[in-house]
């Protein structure tokens, strides 16, 4: 059986699933809108958490948060289920599909057969929608892929029960209630406020302060852990920034797109200016990634390169700090 479900590609999985599930119910919320209202823009540094032998960096909040906030702020309801038994997880999914409900799943990336090897790590916070089943194949709308894909029962079970950090445990979710009227203005304001607070948080592991911590470490790493490991850590920083499902420089652009949309909804032309500024910040993040990649490409050694990178990230943190302080005052008016 195949449900009515239109697949739209998105830049990031969680916004994409949220936006696609809502569009399926006739609520037209774009990906940037879902991202902005769900306060998806973030930065967190987790030096103790290891991902692919490097510290954890993330440019997004914990998986599930964007959707959760979005639902709270727009007033729709989501039902979430986790399972200990794969058989139960599969039969519940099948029942949902029989009842014509498209289902969002949180899955591990490592065993997603349609991804290239370079993308397949033990990263368990990818999201996709199952919208049908034909014979033993599930029809999948993976929001970061251009076209719908398929997975066999066995393949889907593997990714739903991936292990490691944040195991999804068959995690599935679906919309149960959509309000008749949505207060978009209020939701946007709440979303922006939280992003400002997150990015300006007075703790060292999140927001602009986390960026500063990483910037300081970039200077220290060559001496403390050696050039090779430093380059690997920096590579992790790029991958988290630019890769499927995480997207950081890319995230800045989505946020800029959101501010542009928000500007017309709230009738605040200042937000359009802020959108331009955010686009420039996104460009600077990309320059930063490009400079990191030059360090490998030329195999340049010497600490001056790292000093430069550290300075660049430090500048980005000051720039974002100023940005979010200004955004906070605009949204208050």
């Amino acid at each position: 059986m195949k449900l009515e479900f239109e697949h739209h590609q998105s830049a990031h999985c969680e916004n994409g699933v949220a936006s696609n599930l809502l569009k399926n119910k006739g609520v037209n919320i774009s990906e940037p809108m879902a991202f902005g209202i769900g306060s998806g823009l973030f930065f967190v540094y987790l030096p103790f958490l290891r991902v692919n032998h490097a510290p954890g960096f993330s440019y997004r909040p914990m998986p599930g948060f964007i959707f959760k906030r979005l639902s709270k702020r727009l007033g729709f309801k989501i039902e979430r289920k986790k399972f200990s038994s794969p058989q139960k997880a599969q039969s519940t999914l099948d029942t949902m599909l029989e009842n014509k409900i498209p289902v969002g799943l949180q899955v591990g990336v490592f065993n997603l057969v349609y991804f290239p090897d370079e993308y397949r790590f033990h990263f368990n916070a990818h999201n996709l929608v199952v919208y049908g089943k034909e014979k033993d194949k599930y029809l999948i709308s993976d929001p970061v892929i251009e076209y719908p894909v398929e997975l066999t029962e066995k393949e889907l079970e593997k990714v739903r029960f991936a292990k490691g950090a944040l195991p999804p445990k068959g995690h599935m979710y679906y919309l149960t209630y959509i309000p008749e009227k949505i207060n978009l203005e209020q939701a946007i304001i709440k979303g922006i406020k939280q992003t400002c607070n997150d990015m300006l948080a007075p703790v060292p592991i999140v927001g602009v302060r986390a960026m500063r911590w990483v910037a300081k470490n970039i200077k220290k790493w060559p001496n403390s852990i050696g050039i090779k490991k430093t380059n690997h850590y920096l590579g992790q920083l790029i991958r988290m920034q630019e890769e499927i499902g995480t997207g950081g420089g890319g995230f800045r652009y989505i946020y800029a797109a959101f501010l542009q949309e928000a500007s017309s909804v709230l009738k605040k032309p200042e937000l359009k200016e802020m959108s331009k500024e955010m686009t420039e910040i996104g460009d600077e993040w990309r320059d930063f990634a490009l400079n990191i990649s030059r360090v490998y490409k030329n195999r340049t050694t010497g600490s001056s390169m790292y000093e430069e990178l550290s300075k660049q990230l430090m500048n980005l943190s000051y720039r974002e700090e100023a940005f979010f302080k200004k955004l906070k005052t605009i949204i208050r008016l």
């Binding site: 290239p116 490691g164 652009y253 797109a257």
Partner: protein, 139 residues
């Protein structure tokens, strides 16, 4: 980023026929979406990470062949795992996983335990015991 600036390099996505979606501004400064085939900076970061994995696999392989480590160490690297991930896939405590990487301890393992490792790596026990039976080795 302007629409025309969205990178179109040949990235690792191309071989799987996947494109990335980017948000970029058009001539009038309005946001729109553009598909990208890849970006050099990203590809370089991914290649670096793949090289590191290959190196770790090679290192583990030679140590297994020299009798310094058990095959578990090799398959763990092949599957891009670390001890904690392997531990959660097998439901064997990390401390034991580390012990099982010593050849002497590995040889004493019961079939049931071997089976757990084999399942985690998606291979059979015969392959687990002898890394030369693993098809990935011939490259």
């Amino acid at each position: 980023m302007k629409k025309e600036q969205v990178p179109q390099d040949e990235g690792n996505l191309v071989k799987s026929n996947i494109k990335d979606l980017y948000y970029a501004v058009d001539e009038e400064g309005k946001y729109t979406t553009v598909l990208s085939t890849g970006w050099e900076a990203k590809t370089l970061a991914q290649d670096e990470s793949m090289d590191l994995i290959k190196e770790r696999v090679e290192d583990a392989r030679s140590k297994v062949l020299a009798g310094e480590l058990s095959p578990i160490a090799y398959y763990m690297e092949v599957n891009k795992m670390d001890v904690s991930i392997l531990s959660s896939y097998t439901h064997i405590w990390s401390w034991f996983v580390k012990r099982h990487m010593k050849p002497a301890n590995f040889h004493k393992l019961k079939t049931k335990t071997l089976q757990k490792y084999a399942e985690a790596f998606g291979i059979n026990i015969e392959q687990l015991k002898d890394i030369s039976k693993y098809p990935g080795l011939q490259q």
